[in-house]
Symmetry: C2
Subunit: 211 residues, 2 copies
Amino acid sequence: MEDLTNVYFTPLPDSPYVKPFRFNYTQNGMEKTWDLLEVHDSVAIIVFNVSRNVMVFVKQFRPAIYYNHIQPQDRKEKVIDTAKYPAALGIALEMCAGIIDKIKPVEEIAREEVLEECGYDVPLEKLQRITSYRAGVGVQGALQTLFYCEVTDDMKTEQGGGVDDEIIEVIEKSIPEVEEMVSSSGPIPSPPSCLFALMWFLHYKAHQFRK
Amino acid sequence: MEDLTNVYFTPLPDSPYVKPFRFNYTQNGMEKTWDLLEVHDSVAIIVFNVSRNVMVFVKQFRPAIYYNHIQPQDRKEKVIDTAKYPAALGIALEMCAGIIDKIKPVEEIAREEVLEECGYDVPLEKLQRITSYRAGVGVQGALQTLFYCEVTDDMKTEQGGGVDDEIIEVIEKSIPEVEEMVSSSGPIPSPPSCLFALMWFLHYKAHQFRK
């Protein structure tokens, strides 16, 4: 995962992932504009392994995080110096998640992501829908639906790690390690959706699994 | 806030807010690309009014959320039918927050946002830095620093509501109302950073203020 070379930036071509546009509107008589992106809705799943009382995370290299570590003057280099900026800077710790790019019930998409990323084959009825919210209010406003799912070691039928060219590592943390993670003074290499999921688990579920 | 007309979409011109580009890299020998945006770091502040035991929220119209309510076929209309899609669909409830676009300590920027958006004039030493995290890992990876701040009615020296052409309404919720909000089955019209902040408050602070 941390073997990173030949990093460089180019203008955005016509992209299936990032579709920026300008939103024009008149609010209370004032003409305004807002620049935003069209993005997919998504699912995220809190996976807790009750055989060993550990939370399951996915760890992966995230270009967006890596990029934000690069000093503005170094961003102008033709190729980024990966000795100065090693891949580890861009590694994120997240909940299992995926975009909704198929016409299927969200539960089914969540089930597939748990299998593909984490390797657990979970019956649909084990997926508890928690809530949904807006994944970003600035340039994105798509809906993310959050699930909670308890798994056992028996359900681990595959390796996980993603599909196609995804490079995903499955990581486990005990409840005290999760508490330590959210109490860190930061920077935590995780998105707020992951931190919300962790706090939700600590507040509503963790007591059941403490000795 | 809910007087909305003349909504239409245009291609993105050269924008100071949304700067999309393609990130090219080779990971474990595989050539890959990722499309992302350059965005500013930001601050968010949990504001709790201890005179009346209420949490302070900001409510505003968010084009990104509004856009996501519009059916794909209706997005192609020259002008969006605001009778079919009223502004209320795009109203978000968030923590006080702002981008870091000045060279100033983050605490100072947080202090200014609390004053501009919520109207409370808070001494710097009342701002408790909680943590920082990555505000999105897909197309954005900028850092958001979260603060907690207790205010009193005495500190409310201004109206709040934002600066320039911002239209922001200050909303207060009691602790039971906050609990109800995060327990909702959704969609919650808030971003995950707001939900993380609420869960953090409920888990670590709320007990001090319960009768």
